[in-house]
């Protein structure tokens, strides 16, 4: 069938182009423009060939196109082992294939490739809209396959309808396979989707960073609790610890970032866990950040694969979070830990680090405070009291000059969380108390009767931790001293006037829309929980729940029973749609009689009329003669004289025969009495 001279018909080509367009469309935004243009040109060229206005490109042109494509890819991406260039390569080969779309075989090849391109879409995005789009793309590609047969199947409605029907019939088995098929560990390292900037909290903090985040209502975390739920003022999701200050910028400093080889305990029991039970158990689903750090309450421990703990009580992941990532966390309150009474020398120096000069006013005041109070807790209380007295919490703090701490503390006195946290830690360090800035999220919004907590980007927050010999590291939130509402009720309440005022449409002020958005987030959450993050653990759990015990036998039953039911249903459908008109009852009864006689060794010949048959039966097997005569008489009157009574009689005769069939002698003797309805009218 794949002879090259058999030109692809128009419908075939159009369907192929439609399938290509459908699977490439979501990639267009990601692909360099020249690939999109190249694809368009190839399609147009191929169509011109169909219309006879142009020849297929010659070998030289094709070589040139390949060379241009390879060069273009190299220029556009500069690297090969990454997801984007690979998808681009697929798209390019798609486009180039159009230039030699000659035979049915080429068409099949192109469409099989299209399935693959449709799948790469999911590597980038796994949200519901994309999943739905993926279904659409699959349906179009399948329809295009159906249309390749030509004729009636190539009509758009027929092809698409057929494709949908086939896919719908495939869904049950697909669900079963999805649940049952074992998931293997990745066989080899694959390039991840590393394109795009990282989002959310970054590895350093300068004034204004958090203000920027407060303008985004994108979800950051979704947290579902198993058991007790912490009160709002305890919901601090720690992500980063900034220990280094250069006078303006807070950053993690040396030896903290796992990317720079910091010490992270990846395996269990590397860091001793408290002996008491954890206070909170929860599961965090984190939106992609393209960073390695995760978010959890102190002090966390996670048994999810690829999640490790750092020395400063944070969770990090072995690879950046390129796509939504879920991890289970257990958290112990700091109070349940036995604090180490000594802070290591290295740690102490780290957490007392300050730039050599700058902010003289603040330093002076800190020294004064240290002399006045002495211990860390009272110094901290004094600073917080100072904040509480005359500071304003605002989303629009004024810009600060070179000595940013001095300016903030003694001049503007207006700021956002980063200002309070930064200056607080500066003050504490200047007073000789080890302190650090902690960045993460604080708070969250309940969705659907407290099923899970939705944390958005505008919940980003910075606070501080100080170390005291008595209690070890403890959390201090200077913002709480200024604006307790921020901690209790969230940003939206704390800065109601300023909240999201730059937004194009003040959608957050319409409560219906807010509810709808939460509902949508709910759906997304469930989608992610049940489908996207379905892994071998959830698989085991589900199978355990369904089967009670996961054994090969039960698995086989789970697979084979629905498969068998499906097969039976399909066969029933086959029979139902393939059967001809149903025969009248009398004929069916008579045919049953014929089958029985055939089993007795006297089959009715084709074309043999009932009476002749009865006569032959009588001569070949006299003991069946009476029965045959009675049945034939009843059948004749039922089928040809159309007497309803005779039909009933026929049924009765056959029933009785079955009863007496076990004793052949009885069947012969029992019937003559029934032969009342003779044939002579």
């Amino acid at each position: 069938m794949s002879r090259p001279e058999q030109l692809l018909p128009r419908e075939s080509l159009l369907w192929i182009f439609a399938a290509q367009f459908t699977v490439l469309l979501p990639h267009f935004a990601r692909l360099p423009l020249w690939i999109v243009l190249g694809w368009l040109i190839a399609v147009l060229w191929r169509f011109e060939v169909y219309r006879g206005r142009r020849e297929f490109p010659g070998r030289l042109v094709k070589l040139l196109a390949v060379a241009v494509a390879v060069g273009g890819l190299a220029l556009s991406y500069r690297r090969w082992f990454a997801l984007e260039p690979m998808v681009a390569l697929l798209a390019v080969s798609f486009a180039l294939k159009n230039l030699e779309l000659l035979s049915r075989r080429d068409a099949f090849l192109s469409l099989l490739l299209a399935y693959f391109v449709a799948a790469t879409l999911f590597v980038f995005e796994q949200t519901i809209p994309y999943a739905l789009y993926g279904v659409l793309a699959t349906a179009v590609v399948t329809a295009a396959l159906a249309a390749q047969l030509g004729g009636f199947s190539a009509r758009p409605r027929r092809a698409f309808g057929l494709s949908l029907r086939l896919l719908a019939q495939s869904v049950p088995l697909m669900l079963l396979l999805f649940v049952v098929m074992p998931r293997l560990e990745p066989l080899w390292a694959v390039p991840q989707n590393s394109g795009g900037a990282s989002t959310g909290i970054s590895d350093s903090m300068t004034p204004g960073d958090f203000t920027r985040l407060s303008k985004s209502d994108q979800p950051a975390l979704r947290i579902a609790f198993d058991g007790p739920v912490p009160p709002p003022e305890q919901r601090y999701w720690r992500g980063l610890v900034y220990s280094h200050f250069d006078g303006r910028r807070w950053s993690q400093g040396f030896g903290v970032d796992p990317r720079e080889g910091a010490r992270v305990s990846w395996r269990e029991n590397e860091q001793p866990l408290p002996e008491v039970g954890p206070r909170y158990r929860y599961r965090v689903i984190q939106e992609p950040t393209r960073n390695q750090w995760l978010f959890a309450m102190a002090r966390p421990h996670s048994e999810t694969d690829g999640v490790g703990e750092t020395g400063d009580d944070r969770l990090v992941r072995s690879i950046p979070v390129y796509s939504r990532f879920a991890y289970d966390v257990r958290s112990w309150p700091r109070s349940s830990l036995t604090p180490s009474s000594v802070l290591g020398d290295f740690e102490r120096r780290r957490n007392l680090q300050l730039p050599a000069e700058g902010n003289p006013q603040a330093r002076a005041w800190a020294r004064r405070l240290a002399e006045e109070h002495g211990d860390g807790d009272s110094i901290s209380a004094a600073v917080l009291a100072f904040f509480n007295r005359s500071f304003t919490y605002t989303l629009k703090p004024p810009a600060l000059g070179a000595d940013s701490v001095d300016e903030f503390l003694f001049e503007s006195q207006q700021g956002f969380c980063e200002h309070f946290a930064g200056s607080y830690v500066f003050m504490m360090r200047a007073a000789g108390i080890p302190a650090r800035v902690v960045a993460g999220y604080q708070g969250g919004e309940w969705v659907e009767q407290e099923e899970y907590l939705l944390v958005r980007q505008y919940d980003a927050h910075a606070w501080a931790e100080i170390w005291t010999p008595a209690r070890g590291w403890q959390r201090v939130d200077p913002t709480a001293a200024v604006s307790p509402e921020r901690i209790r009720d969230g940003l939206q309440t704390a800065a109601a006037e300023e909240f999201m005022e730059d937004a194009l449409l003040p959608l957050h002020r319409i409560s219906v829309l807010n509810r709808l958005r939460l509902e949508w987030d709910m759906i997304n959450y469930r989608w992610y929980q049940t489908v996207v993050s379905f892994d071998s653990d959830s698989q085991q759990n589900l199978l355990q729940r369904v089967l009670g015990e996961v054994s090969p036998l039960r698995l086989a039953i789970l697979l084979l029973v629905p498969a068998g039911v499906g097969l039976v249903l399909l066969l029933a459908w086959l029979w139902w749609t393939g059967r001809g008109a149903r025969l009248p009852r009398a004929q069916r009864l008579y045919l049953r009689f014929c089958r029985r006689m055939a089993r007795a060794g006297i089959p009715r010949r084709q074309g043999e009329a009932p009476r002749d048959y009865a006569a032959r039966v009588a001569s070949e097997a006299p003991r069946l003669a009476a029965m045959a005569a009675a049945v034939t008489a009843a059948y004749e009157r039922a089928a040809y004289a159309e007497e309803p009574a005779a039909e009933r009689q026929l049924a009765r005769l056959l029933r009785q025969w079955r009863l007496t069939a076990t004793s052949p002698v009885a069947s012969a003797t029992a019937t003559p009495g029934l032969d009342s309805g003779g044939t002579q009218a």
């Binding site: 009248p584 009476r611 159309e642 009218a681």
Partner: protein
């Protein structure tokens, strides 16, 4: 009514020994208002059958021996000028009878043949621009010598279906032949036959034929038979709608003769060879093997 029919059959059976099936076919043909073609060698009893039928049914009977020099007027009749009245007066030909035996029809010229066939079809005669109706029960039994006899004009195939049935009597059975040898004289028997019914009875019987019930099942069988002839690669010419109707009528008459008020597949099978045999054509020529195949390949009950 049933008694009368069996009496008729047995009466004729006394004259035409051992030919009950053919007698019944002839009667069925007559009851369903069709015409009969008997194809046989001379001396097989064709004339006797026709004569006996006429006698028993009480029909006026004419016999015409066809010859090669016969003209249409010899059969239809002719207008002759009468000097007495000064008018043309029409002298009815032999066709004006209730039962016409057209003996050896293939001896006459095609022109004469077609004049008769036309009269059979129309049941009226047009002579000199005047149309005259033929008697009401009008039944033609034509006999024909089998082909390849010298000096004959075979009936054209297209004309053959003017006859409802084509039968052949065949040689007598051994018993019948023995009876003949032993001095049974059919001619004497023939003379003794008395009419069993009159014309009005015959008409009533003919009306009864139409009332024989044909169930869906049997019509279904008929339909399959007909479509088989039209689609079989062996049939060059299938059964026309007229042929299909003829088959149904004849089978109904057969059922009536058999004493039933409903049609059975057996009735169709009984009349099928004589009704369809001369209407079907295969590459090898005759339709009789085709009919045989038809009976064996089309099942009585649709599976």
């Amino acid at each position: 009514m049933q008694k009368i029919i069996s009496a008729i059959v047995s009466d004729i059976g006394r004259v035409l020994l051992g030919k009950e099936h053919q007698v019944k076919l002839a009667l069925a043909c007559l009851l369903s208002r069709g015409h009969l073609l008997i194809e046989d060698l001379p001396g097989m009893g064709k004339t006797t059958l026709a004569h006996a039928l006429a006698q028993v049914l009480g029909l006026s009977y004419n016999r015409v021996q066809f010859t090669s020099d016969m003209l249409p007027a010899d059969i239809l009749g002719v207008s002759i000028f009468e000097r007495d009245s000064g008018n043309f007066r029409f002298h009815e030909g032999p066709v004006f009878s209730q039962l016409l035996l057209a003996d050896e029809i293939n001896r006459s010229s095609p022109k004469t043949q077609s004049a008769l066939l036309e009269a059979m079809e129309e049941r009226q005669v047009s002579v000199d621009g005047e149309t005259r109706a033929l008697p009401d029960p009008f039944f033609v039994i034509a006999t024909q010598n089998p082909l390849h006899q010298s000096g004959t004009f075979a009936l054209p195939e297209s004309q053959l279906d003017r006859f409802l049935m084509r039968i052949s009597l065949g040689y007598p059975t051994r018993e019948a032949e023995r009876a003949l040898f032993q001095g049974v004289d059919p001619r004497a028997e023939l003379r003794q036959l008395q009419p069993r019914i009159d014309v009005s009875d015959l008409k009533r019987l003919q009306a009864l034929v139409g009332q024989v019930k044909a169930s869906e099942s049997v019509l279904d069988y008929l339909e399959r038979l007909v479509s088989f002839t039209r689609q079989s690669p062996d049939c060059t010419v299938g059964l026309s709608p007229r042929g299909a109707l003829a088959l149904l009528h004849a089978a109904r008459a057969w059922a009536l003769i058999d004493g039933r008020s409903h049609l059975l597949p057996e009735d169709i099978q009984a009349v099928l060879p004589s009704v369809a045999g001369h209407r079907l054509h295969s590459e090898s020529g005759d339709g009789s093997q085709l009919v045989e195949r038809l009976m064996h390949q089309v099942d009585v009950i649709a599976a």
